[in-house]
Amino acid sequence: MLWALGLAGLAAGGSIVTLAARSEVLPEPGVRASLAAWMTLPYIFGGLLAWWRRPDSRFGPLMVAAGFAGFLSTLTWSSVDGLFTIGQAFDLLPAVLFLHVFLAFPSGRLEQPFERVLVITGYATAFGLQLVGMTLGGFGPNNVLAIAGEAGAAGHVLRTQLVVISSLCLIGVGVLATRRWRAGPPLRRSLSVLIDAFALGLVMIAVLFLAHVLEGPATEQLRWATFAIIGLAPLAFLVGLVSARLARTTVGDLFVELRADPAPQDLRDALARALRDPSLTLAYWLPAFGTYTDVHGRPVELPKDDGTRATTLIDQAGAHVAALVHDPALHDEPELLDAVTAAAGIALENGRLHAELRARLDELRGSRVRVLEAGQKERQRLERDLHDGAQQRLIALSLELSLLEERLHGDPDARTRLDQARREIATSLEELRAVARGLHPAVVSGHGLEVALEQLAVRAPVPVRLNVAVAGRLPEDLEVAAFYLVSESLANIGKHAEATSATVGVERLNGRLVVEVVDDGIGGADTERGTGLRGLADRVEALDGRLRVWSPRGGGTRLRAEIPCAR
């Protein structure tokens, strides 16, 4: 089929030359023949090429049709009546076909009803009215369709046709301009060049036809210029196709880049370069989470298919791996997309694993925070229960015993036993207080870090210099974490450091709470051994903070925690 059409195209080219050479009416047959061929053949062969590359698209057939219509219009040069009549009938059709081609780029379909109306009106005017004009007896004696002899009326019809088609072309320019403006900044350069070429062609058709109606002076020169420019459009289109083939070399670059084993974060940039689409985003599919994520494992939504963004899904070995979200224009180059996604295979799988790892880490961190928070809440509740329940009752009981004792004036034995009972209660209270304090540092939640640290510093096993420079209250979990940090550090200093003094500093620095405990002891603290430091690190990390310990042998120990603190 394509071959046959190609041969027909060649034949058309040949017949254009023959017709021009034999024509008795044509001035400058050489120039006319070249121009006609220039306007016709690129459409036929460009269209065939497009047809071959994109069998699914209607664009190729449409271009071929435009080319052949151009050829048919050259039959007007013939002195054979039948051929002349056919040529005359198709004379104005190419202009509308060009309009159709330009508006239907790149899919070959007219997406908007308005555009369809535009093109159908064009066909009716160019072909239907042409037949009317011919029946009325226009276009001279060779017109075999002539029934009436109203040449004047036929002239009116022709002028109407030219004006209408010019208007349609100018409206088409408006459509193209709107389309280009809507697309925002040109994401892909070749496309915008094409659209410019189309618009220019339409303007030239309109100018040519109007000049004809107004019987302007330089009609012949205008015709040449118009034909020349219209012939450019398929060339621009072909250049686009060729540059798409050239783009395959960027796939080669991609191979080289991927061989250097880029970091997962750089993969998107490499793909964007290879596809020449800076707007490209890459989403990995994580089946375990049932969601797409970015390379950091953060969930992302694929855009809805609304024509502004397009999505290409990438599968490997039967499993879905990722999705590319890109400029819809990339769908015009499916080979490029295929080549790039094939080249990126292993790197994409790597990226996906990386994203999955990050997502799992995030999940883990989230659950650690929740576990710590839940534990903290539960301990706080227990402390409150002890405080409001057992402790109050025991104190009230002890008071009751005392009041009873006051009334026992004699009886030393009873007094002794009451006294003993009260001492038992005092011991129980002491124990309960220790338990409650271990559960939750109530003084921290009640009165803040600074008040609570004072007692810690005074009770410490070595003299402590306390520098607290935090105005007001901080979030409770932060205060509690800082309190435990200082408490545990001071206890460690007492157990291991052999220090003579220590400094505790708490301050706010650039949106972070910084807690620092420094001693002048023997150093050499092992951060891995013992659960104390590990537990502290857990607490700090759960709040997105960082705990660092410097402990050179013989050089003291310095522990520094930084916890984000927005308020």
Partner: protein, 214 residues
């Protein structure tokens, strides 16, 4: 001598009321929230307000804030704060720049009726009552260069009682020594610690606490 009580545990509130009434104080009001307490202090101008540090609704620092408010705005009303835990930081916050008419005791102390009533009376009279735990915490503080080491055991005992807010007579009674002997110990302590001997009992409480804390 008139007192108001703010305590959210009914058992304790009633017990405290009885205790004070049986020991010659008149409880003119008792309540369970800080707002009620301030209202009663304004209305009755009592000699002393006994305040639980943990009051509704949040049980955080409502009691302490009410206590500080009374100390700032009703100087004639002494404030005795009771708590399940005593913290040096809280004591220093409550006293701020004066120990006049201020007390801070562990809740357990109320069952030692005689001592407790004595503390309430001291605070009502503009003196002070600091829990022994605060004082012993301060005394246990490690120091690199410690003048406290020069004190004799007897002088240490006197220092502790002094820091709790007792008068010379109170110290003499507690240690069963003469008033004269107590005064001698006190002046000897001031000399050894390099503190200027100061006037009232509560003023020397603050001086000693600040010295120990530094």
């Amino acid at each position: 001598m008139r007192a108001v009580i703010a305590e959210d545990s009914v058992l304790l509130r009633e017990g405290l009321g009885r205790l004070l009434n049986e020991n010659g104080l008149k409880v003119v009001g008792s309540c369970e929230t800080a707002d009620d307490l301030l209202l009663k202090v304004r209305s009755y101008s009592p000699d002393v307000a006994i305040v639980d540090i943990r009051l509704p609704p949040t049980h955080n620092d409502e009691g302490l804030r009410a206590a500080l408010h009374i100390r700032a705005n009703h100087p004639s009303t002494g404030v005795l704060v009771l708590s399940q835990y005593v913290e040096l930081g809280l004591a220093m916050k409550l006293l701020a720049d004066s120990a006049d008419g201020a007390g801070y005791l562990l809740k357990d102390r109320i069952s030692d009726v005689r001592d407790f009533v004595d503390s309430v009376r001291r605070v009502a009279n503009g003196g002070s009552a600091i829990d022994p735990i605060i004082v012993s915490t301060l005394l246990s503080k490690r120091r690199n260069d410690d003048p406290l080491a020069e004190l004799t055991p007897r002088e240490r005992e006197v220092l502790e009682l002094m820091a709790e807010g007792r008068s010379n007579q109170g110290i003499a009674d507690a240690l069963v020594i003469t008033l004269r002997a107590a005064e001698k110990y006190v002046s000897s302590i001031f000399t050894k610690l390099g503190l200027p001997s100061s006037g009232s009992d509560s003023r020397r409480v603050l001086a000693v606490l600040l010295y120990l804390r530094s």
